[in-house]
Symmetry: C2
Subunit: 289 residues, 2 copies
Amino acid sequence: MDERTMLGLLADRLPRAGDDAAVIDGLVVTIDMLHETTDFPPGTTRYTAGWRAVGASLSDVAAMGAEPTAAVAVYGAPVFEQAEILAFVDGARDVCEGAGSEYVGGDLDSHEEFTVSTAAVGRTDDPVLRSGARPGDAICVTGTLGRSAGAVRLFERGELERANELFRFEPRIEAGRALAPYASAMMDSSDGLARSLHQLAEASACGMAVETPLPVDDVVDSVAGPDERLELGAFFGEDFELVCTIPEPHLPKAKSATPTPLTRIGTVVEEGITLDGEPMPDRGYTHQG
Amino acid sequence: MDERTMLGLLADRLPRAGDDAAVIDGLVVTIDMLHETTDFPPGTTRYTAGWRAVGASLSDVAAMGAEPTAAVAVYGAPVFEQAEILAFVDGARDVCEGAGSEYVGGDLDSHEEFTVSTAAVGRTDDPVLRSGARPGDAICVTGTLGRSAGAVRLFERGELERANELFRFEPRIEAGRALAPYASAMMDSSDGLARSLHQLAEASACGMAVETPLPVDDVVDSVAGPDERLELGAFFGEDFELVCTIPEPHLPKAKSATPTPLTRIGTVVEEGITLDGEPMPDRGYTHQG
């Protein structure tokens, strides 16, 4: 059974699940797990790993339109190297500081594979769910897509400094809070734009019609040919941008309120998920290994 | 470098770390990771694993004297078996329900080894830290010690039902809240009584003089000879009882306020950690494998 099917089955038992983070009495809570073989290519520094792992949880808080309060992490590794752990903690602290949050610690765990689990908590009185998109709403995305895809190619090429830099994304906290009063539905793009659109459509019982050009990051053009541009931009994922739907009348105000560039990429429709009129498959990039 | 040394080094960078959970603006946050080879003996059901993993985080909230609000978990496994995941979620939900908290969901992660990460959040305006013990305070422990040690022996013997039952401990939420107004220092006994005493002593810059008999659970006598009684009761750990220090004048009120039996096992002293006058080593049970 795949992950998506299973999460669907659990929905009945866990009514607060189904969004990027759970909300209970205005408190936003989320937890994630990343590990070496699937999430940290060779060459990823521990500083970047700390930044990115904690950033992933902060991004979930951002996707609810919430304000993060604190984050914690478990650092699981076969050996505890002082320099590596201090670098990890520095990365975790720095991404929290940039997000107006505080990294308050966590735990160490002996683990065969380098494995990191992170949790973040935040607050909002008016969370933005995945279920509020309505036909006619504009579909928008913050920032640019494909940065993590580009980073992975750069890791493969051995351009480690630039790859690490791209991997240290900025969780879209301010954008999420700015969009919250206007967005009808929102989530982050961690599974790729295509999957995000399918999940928003499913939760909102509607369709999504998206048109190129998409705001694909320049790094994609520098590491891949034009034939891969869409694949890396729309399907690869792990970018942690916000994908949201905004009722047309609110769009100008939403755009001017958001510190991060906000690009309209399409319109919510009654049914079907399409890219330039063709069905857009519900899949992420096929990761190697 | 061992885990304890490393956590000590991190203290400077993480001023809110060092207790069972971090506290920020009255919000209590904690995260833990458990995995198959070290935490779930063969025969542990997924229901018990969900209960125990989430319970471990709730116990950290209890140790701060706080009220838990919600818990989340990541379920990491090589395959996602529907029955196993539903059982895990049921265990997680049930332990939360018994603790007056809510299990609000989490995530799935493909992972070679069965690995669970859990986080819990709670609230308190007056957390009990590890650092408040003062010479003359009574040292107390809730419930009985050695239940998890007994469970591990029963797993080895194939008495799985009783072993699972013992493994599903009750996080001491009510006891923690009842003790909070009286306790000068508190933590849980997840690393064993001996390690808890050393950690309380270190944080409070004092010593601990403990006397037998300790409140060792009857299950220990049923699975081990008298020569192992103290080893399994005082050093094995993973029991998730509360170990606290209480100023003498408060002791009668603390005892009557606590729903779980509270046993005085010694007295805080100026220096040295002793059991019946002999040095009590700072070690847990030597787990096999």
